[in-house]
């Protein structure tokens, strides 16, 4: 079969000219409105009192600026055929590894909260390479895994190269040090490896090795084992490592079902650390109550649903892996952030995508959603509205038939 026998509508889908997933855009829009509101509410106290920031709206203005840049990035990337990234995945990976090295190795790293995650380059705003590493690694792995095919199940051709690449990136991110991001990166990559069709025995063995590595990491670094002790019993050191946990629990509890009202959080008055970044979900819980927190969870669950839906309809394995990787990463990061705030897992610093304050995180999340939206424009099985009544059959009926079709079409 060749392309010219296909309907025009199908060709549009295949070439990425279908409509993007408007539902997904709607979800992001709601999260953004909520996020900008909450960032302002959670940050004005710090912004007002600190001589560093001059203005109550310091964080609000910057967040809106980043949202603006992010939206433009998303709209542009939505138009770019995702297949074009295939060529740049290897150079992209090299650049990101270099940047991660630079942060660790040089004095350019500007440290915050005892970590060296930011990179300042001249007059440009400081960036956080570990945030960019998430997207670049997903692009790289999607390309690599989609080209491996059946060789993936092979130990020396599949599992070992994958483990080396993953070990390198997570190792560098860990050295920033940024355990939260490293964890998100590792889990998203493993998700991709699993979806791409990894050998189950290797996969389980890798999972065990990863768990052991995680336990080792947690036990070797003093601050990490303290966080685990604080997770198990925050009252042991209520003014030290237990502080975060106790204050975020109090924020959630005092919000109750209906919340204290927009802007009425009391925990943001220096009680809750990182109120406008990592702990923003606790402020949502305090101001908007259980109704607000459940709504946020619902939005992320919908985002995951729409993301996987786009994955299932993607026309080729690169698109599928890309969409699955991006969806898994954003969802997983949101889950981890909320799990930390609700004391379901030990504390680790990670942002809530599209809600927390943070330029790098916002920009990267938007870029990822832009790519995901472009994948959603390449749906298989799409029948335009005007043709439906004429009994037109979808060009390709099932997902399974797709790979066969694509190999012939190329």
């Amino acid at each position: 079969m060749s392309m010219r026998f296909l309907s025009k509508a199908y060709k549009n889908q295949f070439q990425g000219k279908g409509h993007p997933d408007y539902a997904l855009m709607g979800i992001i829009a709601i999260l953004l409105v909520l996020g900008v509101d909450m960032v302002y509410s959670a940050s004005f106290v710090i912004a007002h009192n600190s001589p560093l920031y001059h203005s109550d709206t310091y964080f609000l203005v910057r967040q809106m600026l980043w949202v603006g840049i992010g939206v433009v990035t998303m709209l542009v990337l939505m138009q770019v055929d995702y297949h074009k990234y295939q060529r740049f995945t290897v150079p992209g990976m090299v650049v990101i590894i270099l940047l991660l090295f630079v942060v660790i190795a040089t004095r350019l790293g500007h440290s915050a909260y005892g970590a060296q995650r930011w990179l300042s380059l001249g007059p440009l705003p400081a960036i956080q390479p570990s945030e960019f590493a998430k997207l670049v690694l997903i692009l790289y792995l999607s390309n690599w895994l989609s080209r491996r095919g059946e060789r993936l199940k092979d130990l020396s051709n599949g599992t070992i190269p994958f483990a080396i690449m993953l070990g390198l990136i997570t190792g560098l991110v860990l050295m920033q040090p940024d355990l939260g991001s490293a964890f998100v990166i590792a889990l998203s990559a493993v998700c991709l490896f699993f979806i791409a069709g990894a050998d189950l025995k290797h996969f389980i063995a890798g999972g065990i090795a990863g768990t052991i590595a995680l336990v080792m990491l947690a036990l070797t670094e003093a601050y990490r084992s303290q966080r685990i002790a604080a997770f198990l019993d925050p009252e042991q050191d209520p003014l030290g490592v237990g502080w975060h946990i106790i204050q975020s629990n109090i924020a959630l509890g005092s919000g109750g079902i209906f919340g204290l009202g927009l802007g009425a959080s009391r925990q943001k008055f220096y009680y809750l650390p990182s109120a406008h970044t990592d702990a923003i979900f606790a402020v949502i819980g305090e101001e908007l109550g259980l109704l607000g927190t459940m709504a946020v969870i619902g939005l992320f669950a919908l985002l995951a649903y729409r993301g996987y839906k786009a994955t299932m309809k993607a026309p080729d394995s690169f698109g599928m892996l890309l969409a699955a990787g991006i969806t898994s990463w954003i969802t997983f990061q949101a889950l981890l952030n909320i799990a930390v705030v609700t004391s379901t897992v030990p504390f680790t610093g990670i942002t809530l995508p599209f809600v927390s304050y943070g330029g790098s995180s916002m920009l990267v999340s938007f870029a990822a959603i832009g790519i995901l939206l472009n994948v959603s424009r390449h749906q298989v099985g799409f029948v335009p509205e005007k043709n439906r009544n004429k009994g037109a059959e979808p060009a390709i009926k099932s997902v399974r038939a797709r790979s066969a079709h694509l190999s012939q079409a190329e």
Binding site: C191, N249, S254, L262, A264, L290, M320, T331, T342
Partner: protein, 481 residues
């Protein structure tokens, strides 16, 4: 590939379910402890004061007892009946809240109310909240009568509707004026008359002969005596010409002249008469027959040694100060006529009267009947039985003997024409040379109880002349006689 995508999605779904369960845990189940955490002291009083109009406190007939006016200098709380200071409590930005103002603060401030959606929208939209009104069971007219009858004496009076447990009046003398409390704080705190202490619920006094009501009920209920028992005494005459009887309990000699006798010789009195005449020896005998174990058990059933559930702070009444005190028969004898190491609150003794009036079942006392938010109202307190104390037969026999005490005994002064009043006086000895506390407990009408009272006047003299008139005035006012 699609199958593994389903699996990944399923794994993430499990993650969503776990956090969706964690949230109600913190935000609903644990919410109250977290807000109650002493480290959570984030309420900025001024913010709440200025954004809400505090609700009123009303009596059972809608009389406003406490209300807030907005003045240019901020909100001002006024109390129309300072004599109820120990019920309403005070509301102060400096000293905090007390009593009903404290216990019902979330309602008065409008954080909680009869209309849950209103509070939610007010909070969400930052509208000034209007606090809910708290309606008390107190009858301000009856309170005023009790107040006047107490005069300037120190002491307390508790008035309960025995069928429901509603507290109709609660007098504690002296009291403070909550309108000027902030200004007078230092003076009030150092006042030797302790006007800040709520004597009605937290004052612990020797109950004297009013405790014989507890012993009588216990002795009848456990079968160690019966209403037909005749008590035998050999009377002698002392140097003043009074007929008396002396009897020793494990080396503790009790002198008693309360037999209504004037000449020496053999005296025979019925159970109802020893109660009406308040004979210490007869009750010491009953107490020893009961034994310490049963005495303690019955007293506890009446509420001794436990905190009576109430919206404002109260103290448990005590049977002994030292553990093991009642192991000795001498101590049992002394306790049985209301001395020993007994310590009882006026609320506790009003509960004894109310329990007998209610046929042996203690009602649960309460002060707040409902919360009103706009046109909505929620019932907060309603008639409930606290627990069973003695059988209905026993309660009826005790009630008859309390009527006998008013008809023929020391409580004669409580007679009200046309009403069967039941009562018992008490004269509690403190230290030799000190004027005793005067007590009265009672209820009326005996056949359809509407009111139960306990009155104490501190260091005032015998109950029959000091406390009985106050009790009578309260009963008359409550019954509209």
């Amino acid at each position: 590939m699609s199958q593994s995508i389903y699996r990944t999605g399923l794994a993430l779904l499990i993650g969503f379910v776990i956090i969706a369960l964690a949230l109600p845990y913190w935000q609903v189940i644990r919410a109250n402890d977290l807000v109650g955490d002493p480290r959570y002291n984030r309420y900025r009083l001024n913010e709440i004061e200025n954004s809400s109009e505090r609700g009123r406190i009303l009596d059972r007939n809608g009389v406003v007892l406490a209300s807030t006016e907005m003045t240019p200098n901020g909100a001002r709380r006024t109390y129309s009946m300072p004599a109820l200071a120990h019920v309403t409590g005070f509301h102060s930005a400096i000293f905090g809240d007390s009593d009903i103002e404290k216990a019902f603060a979330p309602y008065l401030q409008g954080q909680e109310g009869a209309d849950p959606f209103k509070a939610m929208f007010d909070r969400l939209l930052h509208r000034p909240t209007v606090g809910s009104d708290v309606v008390l069971t107190i009858d301000s007219k009856l309170q005023a009568v009790a107040e006047e009858a107490m005069g300037s004496s120190k002491g307390a009076a508790v008035v309960i509707q025995p069928k429901t447990g509603e507290i109709l009046a609660l007098v504690s003398h002296p009291y403070f004026d909550p309108n000027t409390m902030e200004k007078d704080w230092d003076k009030l705190k150092n006042d030797p008359g302790t006007p800040m202490v709520n004597r009605a619920t937290q004052g612990l006094y020797v109950p004297g002969s009013t405790f014989k009501t507890v012993i009588l009920a216990a002795a009848l209920d456990s079968g160690v005596t019966n209403p037909d028992e005749i008590f035998d005494f050999k009377m002698e005459t002392d140097s003043y010409g009074r007929a008396y009887h002396l009897e020793s309990f494990n080396g503790y000699e009790i002198y008693c002249a309360n037999h209504g006798m004037t000449s020496p010789g053999r005296a025979q009195l019925r159970l109802a008469d020893v109660f009406a005449q308040s004979c210490n020896i007869a009750f010491a005998r009953l107490g020893v027959r009961l034994g310490s174990q049963r005495l303690i058990e019955y007293a506890k059933r009446f509420g001794f040694e436990t905190q009576i559930p109430l919206e404002i702070p109260d103290l448990p009444s005590q049977l002994s100060l030292k553990p093991g005190f009642l192991n000795d028969n001498a101590a049992v004898a002394a306790t049985s006529f209301g001395q020993g190491q007994l310590q009882a609150s006026p609320l506790q003794l009003a509960m004894v009267a109310a329990t007998i009036a209610r046929g042996g079942i203690a009602p649960q006392p309460f002060l707040v009947s409902e919360i009103r938010t706009g046109k909505y109202s929620t019932t907060v307190g309603q008639p409930k039985q606290w627990h069973e104390v003695v059988s209905p037969t026993t309660a009826r026999e005790v009630a008859d003997m309390m009527v006998h005490a008013v008809d023929t005994g020391w409580a004669k002064g409580a007679q009200v024409s046309g009403v069967r009043v039941a009562g018992k006086t008490g004269t509690a000895e403190i230290l030799p040379g000190e004027t005793p506390h005067g007590w009265f407990i009672g209820f009326a009408p005996e056949d359809d109880p509407q009111v139960a009272v306990a009155v104490i006047k501190e260091y005032a003299g015998p109950g029959s002349t000091e406390a009985v008139p106050v009790g009578k005035a309260i009963i008359q006012a409550a019954l509209g006689k």
